[in-house]
Amino acid sequence: MDETALIHSARGGDLDAFNRLVLAYQDIIYNQAYRVLGDNQAADDATQETFISAFHNIRSFRGGSLRAWLLRIVTNTCYDELRRRKRRPTTPLEPMDDTGEEIESPRWIADEAALPEERVERTELRGAIQHCLEQLPLEFKVIVTLIDIQGMDYTEAAIVIDKPLGTVKSRLARARGRLRECLQDFRELLPTAVRLDNEA
């Protein structure tokens, strides 16, 4: 069954059809939640919440890109979660990497002199990038994640955030500008771990 047929069945309340859509999109939605929220548990909750909300609201989906529609829901879910955190702030004991492992001596809190060159690993660069992403204002974080991680084009990203193309361009530029400043603290990690080949 193709996506349109699955959506049609899901609109009629067919949970099995909807679950096939869940399986097709869960990686995309989890990624977005993780990159915006910065921790596995919150991303897990946001992903589940997104699909529950999508099921209840599938009748309001008017066609077009289901990916964009789901990303819009997860983005709103992340906004809600971050607003909730602001009201009740908590501090994690240790930052985690992409796999949920605690990062020992992360670069941004470690004594630089205590880090021998050989311990500069790929996970550290990922941690640094995630750290810099987390420093961004939410609307910047969302747009850079949609375009540079999800690989959306500007028009699709504008649909997700429900703003004009000009807003997408300006937020993306400012996000990249702030990331550039933040990553300057980790610039020794960049040349070895980042391939610049095939870049525009």
């Binding site: 399986l23 992409d98 991680i149 500007y154 530029a173």
Partner: protein, 94 residues
Amino acid sequence: MVMRISERDLEVLSNYLDGQLTTGERARLEARLQTELELRTVLEQIRQTRAAVRNLPFLRAPRNYTLTPKMVGVRRQSPRIYPGFFSICSSSNR
């Protein structure tokens, strides 16, 4: 040291990297890049930044997020029970 540039230039550089400039805007920027070292340096830094973010691994969901009827408050359709079924059963048991 982080070089400072205007927000307008930052946007032009970001758009340039993503191929979002018109032919005229692109030509104007490329002419400036020939002579402005600072602009060239920032362009390279933004290019590296963009590449670093794009190199983040695309994570797989740690589990399946399929929904159960209970999670969404719906009941699975149970087999239809036809009127008269119980009376037939009870009469056959007599």
